[in-house]
């Protein structure tokens, strides 16, 4: 039941913020903040209590499950359930949500109620995506998180926000509709095989589909997730959306919306179409590597700070795809780490870009320079997160990238070597950010104030989490281990050094996924 409360808090909080928004501005801010923090604390307690019993039942990754009929005629049910991966991403959603609210505290002046309404409903949509265990419900939340984000970019963005909002909405909506076709196709094939027509994820898992159709259905799903997780040919919406979105918007966009793409692949594409996924693997890895190199080169040439950071996240997401389609435990753990650490490091960079825009009223790095003298604290933090984004060991991103590369090395040596060369490019663009913005001669006359207390709190939270993940990532790895073992179970190609006995990838039927009734 906690799951429904989580979404309920967010939606309710949003509505309340909208209602009270007209009367006084900062009331809606506080509502948003306490809605998010209660959700966050509840999740933390849940995580801690789950963590104790994590390795007892390694075989069943599902922690909690809530099901209620919605449209029985179609077999659609309001079915929420989380396992290690979803729990982790939920904690991340609420954490970044709190930061988003904090960093747009006095940044938004007009229509504040509607702003927080949109913010909270995006988060509700995202947490819904992470929890949905019914394909229809998944699609429902997948679309639901678009509209508020469209409004957020469209109303509170900067110069050509309208164009960016259009591009964002149409890209995701078009690919989402293709996914809807794939979902309905799967629904009917399952119905024809087994006679029961349902959208329930667990029943659909075992559907036997002929390879030809399975490939097309898998492509239908993949297109939606590949556009969301920007892979090179479909990434052009990201830089526009980021450079025009307000700070909180681009924080959520980079931190969470990109993760829904990766989550979708891990949750739906791999388990539902194992054979087709294996066929697609070499291509996907190739596109991942192209993404890494292309994103890095483009990041190098940008002058708009937010566009630059957007291209860096395109490059980092290239690693994610590389890791997912390497199909071994190391790479998948690396992927999950990358999702979490990328969210934190790119989120921090975006917050700082927002702060710089608020202080200098420009995003063009050619007009910045020598800010270290006036803002040493921000300089130091920016240096730390630039180092994180280039994968300095001791910070979270290194663990993620190293695991991905080690895992991918076994699957495809050549691509991994090119990906490692990508690390050099990441060093080039990260150092360029620090050099252009903070170092060099300062030609500014008007004084610029350094961090306020609120900003220090935000930055401290982010720094602590990135360093903690860098030095002791074990809690994250353990939380996701059952889920990854389950995936391993599907893809047991001859990985020598894993102790588990190899056996043929038989399709899993419903009872193997025994759903543990929690309440």
């Amino acid at each position: 039941m906690i799951l429904v409360y989580l979404i309920g808090i967010l939606m309710g909080g949003g509505l309340l913020a909208l209602m009270l928004g007209q009367w006084n501005k900062n009331l809606s801010r506080w509502i948003a903040l306490c809605a998010l923090s209660t959700g966050f604390i509840a999740l933390l307690f849940f995580w801690i209590d789950q963590y104790r019993t994590i390795n007892i039942h390694l075989s069943n990754p599902w922690m909690i499950d809530y099901r209620h009929d919605w449209i029985p005629l179609f077999g659609i049910s309001f079915h929420l359930g989380i396992d290690g991966l979803s729990l982790l991403l939920l904690v991340l959603t609420f954490f970044l949500g709190i930061l988003a609210v904090l960093c747009s505290w006095n940044d938004v002046k007009e229509r504040v109620g509607f702003y927080y309404f949109n913010l909270l409903w995006i988060l509700a949509g995202i947490s819904g995506v992470f929890m949905a265990m019914d394909l229809f419900l998944f699609y429902f939340f997948w679309e639901m998180m678009l509209i508020p984000m469209y409004f957020l970019i469209g109303i509170w963005g900067s110069e050509n926000r309208v164009y960016a909002a259009y591009k964002f909405f149409i890209f995701t909506q078009a690919s989402g509709l293709l996914m809807l076709l794939a979902i309905i196709g799967l629904y009917f094939i399952h119905g024809r095989n087994t006679g029961i027509y349902t959208f329930n994820y667990f029943e659909l898992l075992g559907t036997a589909i002929s390879p030809g159709i399975a490939f097309w259905l898998m492509l239908g799903f993949m297109i939606a997730f590949v556009v969301k997780l920007p892979i090179v040919p479909f990434h052009t919406w990201l830089p526009d959306a980021h450079s025009e979105a307000p700070t909180a918007g681009s924080l959520i966009l980079a931190g969470l919306l990109l993760k829904t793409g990766a989550y979708g692949i891990l949750r739906f594409v791999l388990p539902l179409f194992p054979q087709a996924a294996r066929e697609l693997a070499p291509w996907a890895m190739l596109f991942g590597v192209i993404g890494i190199i292309y994103g890095a080169i483009l990041a190098y040439s940008q002058t708009d700070l937010k566009r630059l950071v957007a291209y860096t996240s395109v490059s980092h997401m290239g690693f994610v795809i590389l890791g997912i389609f390497a199909f071994n435990e190391l790479a998948l753990q690396g992927v999950v780490m990358q999702l979490v650490t990328h969210a934190i490091s790119t989120g921090a960079l975006f917050i700082m870009a927002g702060m710089l825009k608020e202080r200098l009223h420009t995003r063009d790095i050619n007009h910045m320079g020598g800010l270290w003298t006036e803002m040493p604290q921000m300089g130091a933090i920016a240096m730390l997160f630039a180092m994180a984004s280039l994968g300095l060991p001791g910070l979270g991103n290194f663990i993620a990238e190293f695991l991905i590369l080690v895992g991918a090395f076994k699957a495809n040596v050549l691509l991994t070597i090119i990906a490692t060369i990508g690390l050099i490019f990441s060093a080039i663009y990260s150092l360029r950010i620090v050099q252009k913005v903070f170092l060099g001669p300062s030609e500014r006359q008007d004084p610029v104030h350094d961090f306020s207390f609120r900003e220090i709190m935000v930055m401290a939270a982010l720094t602590l989490s990135i360093v903690w993940l860098g030095l002791y990532p074990q809690p994250v790895i353990n939380t996701v281990k059952p889920m990854i073992n389950k995936l391993e179970y599907i893809f047991p190609i001859e990985n020598k050094n894993t102790q588990k006995e190899n056996h043929q990838a038989t399709p899993l039927n419903a009872h193997q996924y025994r759903v543990k009734k929690q309440e």
Binding site: W70, I71, P72, L73, F74, F136, Y139, F140, E143, M144, L146, I147, Y150, F151, G154, I155, V162, A165, Y166, F169, I170, Q173, A174, L177, L178, L180, L181, I184, G185, Y187, F188
Partner: protein, 479 residues
Amino acid sequence: MSGNDFFALTPLLLLAGSSVLIMLLIAIKLSHRVIQLSSLFLFAVAFSSLFFIQKLLPYHIEPLLIMDGFSVFIMGLIIFSSLVVNILSYIYFEEKEDSPKEYYVLLFLCTLGACVLAVSKHFISLFLGLEILTVGLYALIAYLRERHHNIEAGIKYLVLAAFSSAFLLFGMALIYLQTGSMEFSMIARSLTSLQSLSPLFLTGLGMMLVGVGFKLAVVPFHMWTADVYQGAPAPVTAFIATASKGGVFAVLFRFFIMIDGFRFKVVMLILIGIAIASMIIGNLLAVQQKNVKRILAYSSIAHLGYLLVAFMPGSMMSIKAVSFYLIAYFMTTLTAFGIVTILSNKETDAEDIESYKALFWQHPVLACIFSSSLLSLAGIPLTVGFVGKFYILAAGLQAGLWVTALILVISSVIGLYYYLRIITIMFAGQKSILSEEKKANPFFYRVSIIALSVLTLLIIWLGVYPSVVISFMEYFRLK
């Protein structure tokens, strides 16, 4: 004409009777307000009469009419939409015309025509229903004689409608010649006897498709739509977009179900061609359109294309899909045109897209209603439009129409663009401080807003929890 016949025909009789009653009221020079309220009351009575005849169904009134679940459902929809049009038309005509009396008579007659279409199972009743509807519409379209292009739209509609009715008649004559009877069931019986499709029947069917195609404004015959929608008064446009298309689609559906036209590959090919063409061209025509009425016209062409996609499989699923989509389409189009009606004032209709600038900050309620209806037209979740589109895709994919489903998706993405354009313009700009101009009659203004907000709540509620209507739909089996 036994007692039961009369009882079964109460809705039609009520509509005909009330048109005559309204004429009497006009004769004794009553005010516009009284006439409007009485017509509202009579519509409500007709709508409730539908519930009384439930127990009689399915009832055959040989040889012309058939009252079964599906026809009652369609009649309910048509009367509901004319009721909403009636509510909206008061403020529209109160400002533009000193005393618009004949309007309500014609509105009753058109509703009668559409209902006759819904219940007909014979060529004669089909033809008569269609003609009452069309002739009534001639006058309604050209109602505001001097004002902005009404006459031009009227003459265009008249010539084209007569032209297409001639086609329809010629087609019917050919089919009558081939099969020897004008009743759908008899035609079906004679068809089963001969295996291959005789060319005469095929040409007849083709010619009928031209006539029906014109009324449904599907692609090859869609060119009149934009001009008539723009020219006609806003409530009349709402009526054309919903009731007239609904009635014609119902009779086409009944005709194809009875003669099981789905097995003729040629006809199906033509229908698929029409559906795909109208989906793509309908959406493309509206991409950079500056006039809101014309955008809604082109989007209604596209929506008919979607409806045809669900129509083609002809399976049980497609009946449910068509019915649900009709509900969704009716409600959303009524709301959209309702907003256009409310926003138009004495001189100009709210046609130009610029007149919607910063609407969100001046009239937040109206803007919310309009954006929810636009999102429902676009098929975004949380709205009934999405569930309708999902239903259609399900029906289409069940019959394996993969290509049409893909084109549906692509064209609805193009559609997304111009719906979003309107929403963006509503959000752009600042809260202008120009004074709120006093509405001529605040009471009716508020009534229409309440009506529209009820419709919007329905859109959202059905979007989130559609199973109550879907189970209700089980009840309307088509024989």
